[in-house]
């Protein structure tokens, strides 16, 4: 067994969020700026994925929505600190996360994605069946379910109001 020196060039994956103060077009400009930053440090971007506007699971700096973007790149591990620091200080990036990932071929990536989707659909079908069974057993709608319905409506209304505020 020979000890091999760790290669200087590593494969990383970065997910970052552009704040909602930008419009869709401006957000794309910001994404390309981040990619330029990576390139300026000698990084080579191998994969990009733009997720678009998504609702955040919790509020970050008064933002309820953000533009998610993903990129994978090969870069010298010493350059990572610079990119990390620059993005941390930048006000145009709400949050970012750099992760070491294995290099995936396009086929493997597609396989994983379709598989996880297939499994999710399968699970949802199962839940629907279970729900239908439960309803058959109950048949009499209880007061509790009505309450949950109204709270759901309230939630939807709240979301509508919040998104309207974000657009202002």
């Amino acid at each position: 067994m020979s000890k091999t020196k760790k290669s200087e060039q590593n494969h990383y994956e970065m997910l970052f969020i552009i704040p909602n103060k930008f419009t869709e077009d401006e957000a794309k400009v910001q994404v390309s700026k981040v990619e330029e930053l990576i390139a300026s440090q000698g990084g080579e971007i191998t994969y990009r994925e733009y997720w678009g506007k998504k609702r955040l699971a919790y509020e970050i700096k008064q933002n309820h929505y953000g533009y998610y973007s993903l990129c994978e790149f090969d870069i010298n591990r010493l350059a990572i600190a610079k990119i990390d620091n620059d993005l941390r200080l930048s006000k145009d990036v709400l949050r970012h996360q750099i992760v070491v990932t294995p290099v995936l071929s396009g086929e493997e990536r597609a396989r994983q994605k379709s598989l996880s989707e297939k499994l999710a659909v399968k699970k949802e079908d199962g839940e629907k069946k279970a729900k239908a069974n439960e309803e058959e057993i109950k048949k009499t709608p209880s007061v509790v379910s009505e309450e949950t319905n109204s709270s759901k409506e309230l939630d939807e209304k709240m979301e509508g109001i919040l998104s309207a505020q974000d657009l202002l």
């Binding site: 997910l15 969020i17 699971a57 919790y58 598989l115 996880s116 999710a120 699970k123």
Partner: protein, 70 residues
């Protein structure tokens, strides 16, 4: 999230990698209050449970999953 009778690791059985971006899958391994479920309950093997806990934490940082129920 359901309690399994005979425990097969979800990730071993389906040859699926744990991915912090795949929230639909991660959601199965946390409870209503968004707390991680133990491997003994979900049947995930120890090796994948370690990957899973890391992925859930990463997803929380990126606001893909919430830390608590709202």
């Amino acid at each position: 999230m359901a309690i399994k009778k005979h425990k097969d690791c979800y990730f071993c059985a389906n040859q699926l990698d744990v991915d912090y971006k795949d929230t639909r899958t991660l959601r199965r391994f946390v409870n209503f209050y968004m707390k991680m479920l133990p491997g003994s309950r979900t049947g995930v093997c120890a090796w994948h449970q370690r990957k899973l806990s890391m992925s859930i934490k990463r997803a929380r940082i990126m606001a893909l999953l919430s830390h608590t129920h709202k």
